[in-house]
């Protein structure tokens, strides 16, 4: 196996993984250290756990089931605006919760567009509030992510294989079985696990669209323990429950991930000769059109609402925007410093067990990490002095599992395909990265960096705990505006946030695919 031959250092990878574990468990230990004797689980906690797992399971399942046809259609079609659409696919995922919820409500809410149409044709009103609303919102957030992860996988199939398939005249079904199914088997479990974990930590979406306390998630119970009861013991216990649920999901998913190679190609642009039939064309058009409508209508509502608010924004919003940009850049650097060595470490191993460590960062409650580090930093220095570095680091932690999922499969293939050659040539350390790994990983690095940057721009997370008056990131500033009745200015800030997040995503993503066809 490549593992024994390839000279990729595992030391930096294991150090990065250790750092991640320390950051999370350190915070947890700090919270526990300050806890009085906490109460155990109560009945309502079990109800919260059941609801949390069930909605996360449904959200993940529906997201990936829908993502397969969308990604497939996007992978085999070329049309004007495709690149823009693929970029916009990143948008829902990075929107601050409140912005996305208001966007969704403009379409699906009681006085939303859907109900306006239903009323016009004499049909009864549909309500978005309930479990289906929670799942709808989570699919809105995560369908694009799943689609992008799958699309990334599709693009990893070398162009030569599609050419060959076309030459020997494989039927669509045979093509699916030989080329696409192995790919899906490799990408789907990981994508599903990621989405499951994201939905586990949902709080405001679940509460608002769930329609009431029935929709209590574990994250809300954690929030309640910290803010309402100040019961640190219970908060820590619930945080552990969340980590265990996410860890179990990640282990289950990575367990069934088969290690397969796609075979080496020359990284030519993928051109497709299959699926030219009219019926398939129609099918793909409907799928892409439907997905685009579902994702773009709520975004359109955000843009419409924000347009008028832009000129009402005080100058402090622009200062916050600049600050958020800075945090985002630092997050991207921190992410790459953590993710690349970890990905290399994971890619040279047979099992993906280490990747579970990456998932921890996402499944840990931001409030728990924030509080824990607040407790640790406070005796040494003023926590607001390190608000920005801490925020950047936590954002990088949250993006780590995505980055690993994006980087590892490609890196594994590259090492398998080029490992022996590199060893023969005596390439190792930095030259190996410089000449072999980084050039072939460029699209994946761009995607991961873009996702991290965008995620970081929209994150409210820990900054709320550390912030002071002078330093407010853009999402925090937006909340402050809303708190002061400035809903219109807040809508403007939300639009700015959307544009900036998309801008960062686009720059990184395009940068990665420069001179390489999407």
């Amino acid at each position: 196996m490549a593992r024994s031959i390839v000279p990729v250092s595992t030391r930096s990878g294991s150090s990065a993984a250790a750092l991640v574990v320390v950051l999370i468990l350190g915070a947890l230990a700090a919270v526990v250290s300050r806890a009085d004797v906490g109460s155990g689980f109560v009945g309502s906690d079990w109800a919260a756990i059941r609801f949390t797992v069930w909605q996360a399971f449904l959200s993940a399942l529906i997201s990936i089931v829908l993502a397969v046809p969308v990604a497939r259609a996007l992978a085999r079609r070329r049309f004007a605006g495709r690149a823009v659409l693929v970029t916009l696919l990143g948008a829902p995922f990075i929107l601050p919760v409140i912005v996305a919820v208001l966007g969704l409500l403009a379409v699906f809410g009681r006085s939303g567009w859907v109900n306006a149409v239903l009323a016009a044709i004499g049909l009864p009103e549909v309500s978005i509030y309930g479990l289906h609303g929670v799942v709808l919102a989570h699919v809105f957030f995560n369908l694009p992510l799943a689609t992008r992860l799958l699309l990334q996988g599709w693009q990893a199939i070398p162009a030569e294989q599609f050419r060959l398939a076309a030459q020997i005249g494989l039927t669509p079904w045979a093509l699916f079985r030989t080329l696409e199914w192995p790919l899906l088997r490799q990408v789907l479990p990981g994508a599903a696990a990621l989405i499951f974990v994201i939905c586990l930590t949902s709080f405001a979406v679940a509460l608002t669209l769930g329609g009431g306390p029935r929709a209590t998630t574990v994250e809300l119970a954690i929030y309640q323990a910290f803010r309402f009861d100040f019961d640190l013991g219970r908060a820590a216990l619930l945080s552990v429950a969340q980590l265990v649920m996410a860890g179990a999901a990640a282990i289950a998913a990575l367990w069934i991930l088969p290690t397969i190679g796609m075979g080496a190609g020359q990284d030519r642009p993928v051109l497709r000769w299959d699926a030219q039939g009219g019926l398939q064309r129609l099918h793909d058009t409907v799928v892409i059109g439907g997905a685009a409508l579902f994702l773009l209508l709520p975004l359109g509502a955000v843009v419409l609402r924000g347009g008028g608010g832009l000129r009402l924004m005080p100058s402090s919003v622009w200062e916050s925007a600049l600050l958020s940009l800075g945090v985002s850049v630092v997050s991207v650097v921190a992410l790459l410093a953590l993710a690349l060595p970890m990905a290399a470490w994971i890619a040279t191993r047979r099992s993906g067990a280490v990747e579970v460590i990456g998932v921890l960062g996402l499944s840990a409650s931001p409030l728990m990490i924030g509080t824990g580090w607040f407790i640790l930093i406070n005796p040494v220095m003023d926590p607001s002095g390190v608000a920005l570095p801490v925020t950047a680091l936590v954002n990088a932690l949250m993006a780590l599992p995505f980055a690993l999922r994006i980087l590892v499969p490609r890196l594994r293939d590259t090492i398998q395909d080029f490992g022996q050659l590199s060893t023969t040539l005596g390439l190792q350390g930095w030259p190996l990265w410089r000449w072999v790994l980084l050039p072939r990983l460029r699209p994946q690095i761009g995607f991961a960096a873009g996702l991290t940057g965008a995620l970081s721009i929209g994150d409210l997370g820990v900054i709320a705990l550390f912030a002071d008056m002078e330093r407010a990131t853009l999402p925090l500033q937006m909340y402050r505006l809303m708190g002061a009745y400035q809903m219109q200015a807040a809508a403007g800030a939300a639009l700015l946030l959307l544009v900036m997040a998309l801008g960062i995503f686009w720059v990184c993503d395009r940068g990665g695919r420069w001179h390489a066809e999407a």
Partner: protein
């Protein structure tokens, strides 16, 4: 590590430069320090008279403030905490971090203020805000029987949500669970905080939203929009009184005491109504700003004594969860 070290150096340098003017640190909630909040004007006005540097540190809402204070304990940098309300006072006093202060003021509150640790700076009544084209119900029973849709905040994560909980409990006692069961089908959804709920209401998701009787003043004065009103309920309205308190371990105890007195002064009290959109705790010499006269005035003010809040809160929360989780 470098970033940490750099941040530490910057903090040290800033501290050295400001060494000659004393710094007064006030922890408060986020919307207080926003550009449209009272923070900037209060800061300017107090710095004109105090020869000091007043620094507001914004932190979530009232509950978040208290949680932060508990985390920091006696080591906190804060000299004062501004923005706790009457339902948090008991828990705040229990920390033992606050010092008593003499604040001289003739309060314009519907109740008598006797607390010697915390001084009220503004107050309001919780109320359901609606559009004026709607005839509001007269009480919780009528609301429960109507098919009106309301948005409320979760009492576990928001101060108004907690206020509503205490309102129903105080008005109905053992009948409170029945009231909540009646309201269950009227509640469109429950949000994390006030901003989300008010945003949903403005988007037309509900006929009414839990807010304050003073909320329409914002629309009247700042937007010249008189289509919003607050419904008067005949059970009376639960009050929220926002208070400021001084920490026993304050670096600047005298300055802190001066700030508390300043918060009930004419200058500060004239700023609050049109920035925090609440009633002033002390009537300013020029009276209330124009527009406030249009607001409804509940006849019966309700408030649970601060010491009774924690026990009553837990009981009411259990009832609320049981009624709405069905």
């Amino acid at each position: 590590m470098k970033a940490l070290a750099l941040a530490a150096t910057t903090t040290l340098a800033a501290t050295a430069a400001a060494a000659d003017t004393p710094e007064l640190v006030v922890y408060t909630y986020d919307s207080f320090v926003s550009d449209w909040g009272p923070g900037p004007q209060i800061e300017k006005a107090f710095e004109e008279v105090c020869a000091c540097d007043l620094k507001f540190v914004g932190n979530g809402d009232g509950a978040a403030l208290l949680a932060r204070l508990k985390l920091e304990g006696a080591r906190t940098d804060a000299d004062l905490v501004l923005g706790l309300d009457t339902s948090l006072i008991a828990a705040a006093r229990e920390t033992g971090l606050f010092a008593e202060t003499d604040v001289n003021a003739v309060y314009a509150l519907p109740i008598e203020w006797t607390d010697s640790t915390f001084a009220p700076y503004d107050w309001g009544y919780f109320a359901f805000v609606h559009n004026t084209d709607l005839t509001p119900p007269a009480n919780f029973r009528a609301l429960g029987e109507s098919d009106l849709k309301v948005v409320i905040q979760d009492p576990r994560s928001s101060t108004p949500g907690l206020g509503l909980l205490m309102w129903v409990k105080d008005a109905y006692g053992t009948e409170a669970p029945a009231i909540w069961e009646g309201l269950a089908d009227n509640i469109v959804t429950v949000t994390k905080g006030w901003s989300e709920a008010y945003g949903l209401f403005l988007e037309g998701e509900a006929d009414m939203v839990l807010s304050y009787t003073t909320s329409p003043a914002y629309h009247i004065i700042a937007e010249e929009d008189d289509t919003k009103a607050a419904a008067v309920f005949d059970e009376g309205h639960y009050m929220q009184i926002e208070v400021v308190g001084r920490l026993a371990g304050a670096d600047q105890p005298e300055l802190a005491a001066r700030f508390m007195q300043f918060m009930v002064s004419d200058v500060a009290q004239s700023i609050l109504p049109t920035t925090n959109w609440m009633y002033p705790a002390v009537m300013p010499t020029n009276g209330l700003p124009k527009g406030f006269e249009a607001l409804v005035k509940p006849e019966n003010a309700r408030l649970v004594e601060t010491d009774r809040v924690p026990a009553l809160r837990d009981e009411a929360l259990a009832e609320w969860l049981a009624a709405l989780s069905r």
